[in-house]
């Protein structure tokens, strides 16, 4: 049995230290043991040879409450048993995890879609600011156009 205990039906966290993916997913699976489908997404600090570090900044009064609302939106929109949304803040180096999202559902389609929906919103509509260090210089990152396009496709229906 997993020792980690998760909030049911949603567990939303901002983590300022390492994120243990195996432990989280084992606990998630144990929490929703009757679910027929579990989908998850892990976002990592990309090792493209040039990125030395990433730093994510958050704003306490907005960031976590916004992620909790997003998790509730996913639960309202898809037929889910539960969700997990964990995001790192602070300084990360390749290949450390940045974000872990998981959805448990009776059937796979809802689980896949919920994870996709959560990631598209976390990327360009959550209160997080990212900068990266390349060649010893820190540079702030703005969302890319395709991140906004990814978000827009959820608004059409």
């Amino acid at each position: 049995m997993a020792r980690l205990s998760l909030d049911n039906p949603r567990d939303v966290r901002l983590l300022d230290k390492g994120l243990s993916v195996g432990e989280a997913l084992a606990a998630f699976s144990a929490t929703y043991e009757r679910a027929g489908a579990i989908a998850s997404f892990l976002g990592k600090t990309r090792d493209d040879g040039g990125t030395q570090a990433l730093e994510l900044t958050h704003y306490e009064p907005l960031t976590l409450p916004g992620m909790e609302r997003l998790a509730d939106e996913a639960r309202a929109r898809f037929a889910l048993d539960g969700v997990l949304v964990w995001h790192r803040v602070g300084v990360m180096t390749p290949p450390q995890p940045i974000v872990l999202v998981a959805a448990a559902a009776p059937h796979r389609r809802a689980a896949f879609d919920a994870v996709d929906f959560l990631m598209d919103h976390l990327k360009s509509a959550s209160w997080l600011w990212k900068r990266e260090k390349r060649g010893g210089e820190w540079r702030w990152i703005e969302p890319r156009a395709d991140d906004h396009d990814a978000l827009a496709r959820w608004k059409a229906d």
């Binding site: 994510l56 900044t57 009064p61 990327k123 702030w140 703005e142």
Partner: protein, 79 residues
């Protein structure tokens, strides 16, 4: 005093994460109270303003008193 919180690149431009300014403040007095480099960024519609954790739908309607916290929020980039 009103506490200003600079997020993202605005903290670099302000050369500080936070600042204290005398209240009350409205939109125009906020523009005058922040460093010039920050005021230039606030000209962009994409910079949002939150007062005590509530994001304003119309930034020009800003009113803040002593004890309030104003956050200056540039475009986000998570994930």
């Amino acid at each position: 005093m009103i506490r200003l919180v600079y997020l993202g690149k605005l903290a670099d431009l302000a050369m500080n994460d936070t600042a204290e300014v005398a209240g009350p403040l409205d939109w125009n007095s906020l523009l005058a109270a922040v460093p010039e480099a920050v005021a230039a960024q606030l000209g962009e519609e994409r910079v949002h303003i939150a007062v005590n954790g509530a994001v304003l739908t119309d930034r020009c309607s800003l009113t803040a008193q002593d004890g309030d916290e104003i956050a200056l929020l540039p475009p986000v980039s998570g994930g």
